[in-house]
Assembly symmetry: C3
Homo-oligomer: 426 residues x 3
């Protein structure tokens, strides 16, 4: 007899996913065609770099948990593969030509971008949600993201070339709001599965490094041709600075002066997030370095001091610490955008972007993310969506067939089978 | 005293491999020169993407076996490094200019492609063959592939831009024929080494994801400049559709509704295979999605229902399930090519490709692959080629120095050493 | 009470790293600006390929040690992120325009290149040095490298497009000299941590393959547009030849005919190193194959016969065998450059490069590397730099927080904690 926490997804997930794919295919049949005219073929290498970040970067970054690698890399793939189709439609509806959505390499980059919001939010709730919940979250988040993106770039005419605000801050605060609404008192104390192993940390470094390496492509992919090289250079040096600062602070905040893998996997990337908004605006590599260094500092401090407080005082449990990698650095990026546009305006340069509109963009992004996330969380609380019990959180074996050998190996006990039997008899 | 199953390759493999390298070097000295004139430099990023697929994609995809990771990624590298040289010659002999083979980036992409056929066949016989056998297979398969490719594209004037037929179906049916001829009754029951561990499945995901990510480059690398973007877009959406469908069906076919790593590693890629033949011909992204979805369905059903039947009834043991990833989706791709050329012909478009010739291409490819594979299998049966005994199949330690620690670790016993001693005294 | 071997880096490392980052940021503020005029955007894909090699390639190649993966991939990242900033300055000072260093994609490729020297030297001393020592080494080595590079390309007008001499031989001999000066008799016998596990060898293959795959980009990134394709083709075939030869010899030199992971991870790459100097000069793919084959031979023989002798007779302990991957093949590359320029001179072709100057470049590179390495080693011997005791070498837990589970798992004992306590009470 299925319980309120029935995690068997045989029909719920399968039929829901198939229906979604059928619906998307029909919508594509009605609305989507190839863009004609000048093709942006030079963007193809940039697209492939971003594609690596979405599927390998985000996917493996989250494999640090000792028993949640299948879900991290697998559900990441599912969200991204579904989300890029949904994102094509949601972003396309804002830019239709003769009632048609025209796809080209540029729209594929944007579709990949849209999935990043859902993947960031996935990091906040990693280990605590079911695949069905993640599909629903992806639908809602990408839809709301596309609206906010239109608000920010279409209405406010704000600049956000590397999407510090519209992707990183948005995804983080959306995910944190979901996490707050889905809060479980039973996970207040650290779960025994919520830790890494030596090899899971190395797998996570694969993700971290591919994100780090291709971030210059991420921040420059939708830049204008004339500013692309500048966006690449600024991201390169910003990341380098945040990496050196992260190592320095990682040792400094540790009682015994040792480095922390969590920080090296995450805070080193903060420079890429924070320089995103103004990567194509800065007029000095030195400024990019400063932004990167500050991003590294706030990210390390966030992991060390803020995350525990969020969890214990505000009931916001953030599995991957997305607030420190995407949230705070994303806000820093938004602020940097305000400052840079203000300086450029003062110096008489182009008034295309104004500090006021940049601030409005940052504010609306955070507000919409929090509201959208809270709404989404409320929907995900519906009891039949296959959420695991507290005890079975952060454990692949609830949703995946896990090799026998490994059960003995990692688990040091037969508890996978016992859990399964337990679930089955509930 | 060496037995019929002597696996010591010290002289057999070494001298054979060195002779091959000397022969190839001499042939290069006689026949190969750089192509002059317009260089196709824009192809370089596409080449590098394909190169990642061949060496990291195929290599790591096969690391799922718990004790066969060194061979999977190592022998994959050997086959590809040898095969790309041999492929340059075999493909080049069909396109000589003044008695010379002219190499450029385009020919390097084609050389990489030619190795994919041998790597796919390697997947069918993984764990059951020796490195010497694989070198012989590579020589024969690439030679036959080059002839069939000439027949398909040169004589039949068929289209197959992403090589659904000439690489994927060819490699799969060639490998299955080899596997049938090399059938060993002793492996009828599942071998104790023929399973994955938690971490071996994560290593395999590295391969699966890099294949998935760069498949748009694979299917568009030899497309005409004007159709390249369309091939990229179609592959992108086809893969996305097959991924969502794979997750849905993976849960549906499992008794407890759980996802299977085998399916996520393989069937998600079927969309890339199946859309290959007509990636540059389709005139609607929606059609690519349909092909991808159907490919996901037949791939999952193939793994779930057909592979066990092939093994038990037809004596075809397919270690990696290449029939479901490359065989069936490759045939689907060939059929899609027939349908699409028929539709385009009816609508009065270019009659460059005809459905009849597409059908001939598909038929000849499968026929030649089966015959060539059977012939190759017969040659590989020669007793002195270093094949492992049934008991030592799927075990790196026969052909590789394996770290001591791991022997204890994975094997849970000292049986590596015992096996070695056993071999040595045979 | 801190001892001479105090490894607590809480203040030493943190403050040193922060001061360095502040100093670099100030120097960037004074000296660095974006290059204006024609942007080299076509180089961006090549840059990203090189970037993957530096961070994933070098980083994961060194993860083969069973307990030193965090340091390998993490300190590699630190060195590279710091080094690329320092390299921008050191290389830029030789090419200032109006007192400014102008950065573009080309200078980023060169900055990445400059870090490779320190990463190669890191391989020679891997497991035996502290992060503070590595920062100092990076500063000194990149500074000296930039001077030698100026000497080779600016004064001698020598050619070295793929940097066989200026990066590979330089990094290797610099590192060997450091290793000699830092020689510890206590490590003469093989350390119990100085070995791989099954999975650590697979992680190392990730690094090896990404180096292998993108080496054509490395050797062609700074070639002239007209010679780039030739450099790509030559590197492709040279690597293929060295790979086949490596497998052949790996089996041949092993008593039982088995392949060795060390050789497959390293000697397969020797073809890329050795063809570097003349990748854009060779006029026949056959010549590239010969260079690759010879490189594979000397690399395998170096690992098998020379490395043990260097360690036992000359007190040069080379953890990763960089002498065999970068040193000997780099010298071979330099010699090939002498021969090729001599032949081209004889045949009346451009006398831009002369064999004499090529020889001077090779000699000065090795001499400066050895002297610079010895000097650097002497500085690194200062007792307060956080070097681990002999017993704690090749062990991440001295400098990293290592997951508990793994301590039990890999170490088979609680000795990590005991070691830490031991250190703390020294």
């Amino acid at each position: 007899m299925p319980s309120a926490l029935d995690t068997n997804m045989r029909f719920k997930f399968s039929i829901f996913a198939l229906l979604l794919q059928v619906a998307i295919t029909v919508l594509f049949g009605i609305f989507v065609k190839y863009k004609t005219g000048r093709q942006s073929e030079g963007l193809h290498p940039l697209f492939q770099d971003v594609h690596v970040m979405i599927f390998v970067g985000f996917g493996f970054l989250m494999t640090f948990l000792k028993k949640y690698g299948f879900s991290s890399v697998g559900i990441n793939m599912l969200i991204a593969a579904f989300g890029l189709q949904w994102g094509t439609l949601m972003q396309g509806f804002w830019h239709m030509e003769d009632g048609k959505i025209c796809v080209d390499i540029n729209s594929m980059i944007n579709a990949d971008f849209s999935t990043a919001t859902a993947l960031i939010s996935f990091g906040a709730v990693l280990g605590k949600t079911s695949p069905v919940q993640m599909l629903i979250l992806t639908i809602l988040e990408i839809t709301i993201f596309a609206c906010n993106e239109h608000l920010v770039t279409g209405i406010f005419q704000a600049t956000d070339v590397g999407a510090s605000m519209t992707i990183h801050a948005f995804g983080a605060y959306f995910g944190l709001a979901v996490s707050l609404v889905l809060y479980r008192p039973g996970l207040k104390n650290k779960h025994e599965n919520e830790e890494s192993t030596y090899h899971s940390d190395l797998f996570a470094m694969i993700g971290a490094l591919f994100l780090w390496i291709f971030w210059p492509s991420f921040n420059s992919a939708i830049a204008s041709d004339s500013d692309r090289t500048k966006a690449i250079i600024n991201t390169y040096y910003s990341l380098a600075a945040s990496t050196v600062v992260t190592f320095a602070l990682s040792s400094l905040v540790d009682r015994t002066g040792k480095f922390s893998m969590v920080l090296v996997q995450n805070a080193t990337l903060a420079g890429g997030v924070a320089v995103g908004t103004c990567a194509d605006l800065l007029n000095h590599p030195f400024a990019a370095m400063c932004i990167g260094a500050i991003a590294g500092i706030i990210s390390v401090l966030g992991f060390h001091f803020l995350t525990p407080v969020l969890a214990s005082k505000l009931n916001i449990h953030d599995t991957c610490g997305v607030h420190n990698l995407h949230g705070l650095p994303g806000v820093l990026g938004g602020i940097a955008g305000i400052v840079v546009t203000a300086i450029q305006r003062t110096s008489g340069k182009s008034a295309l972007h104004t500090p006021g509109m940049q601030a409005a963009a940052l504010g609306s992004t955070i507000g919409i993310a929090l509201a959208g996330g809270a709404l989404t969380g409320a929907i995900l609380k519906l009891p039949f969506l296959g959420q695991a019990s507290d005890k079975n959180c952060f454990d692949d074996s609830i949703y995946w067939e896990v090799p026998e050998e490994e059960k003995l190996h990692v688990g040091h006990s037969n508890n996978y089978d016992e859990q399964s039997r337990f679930e089955a008899t509930m």
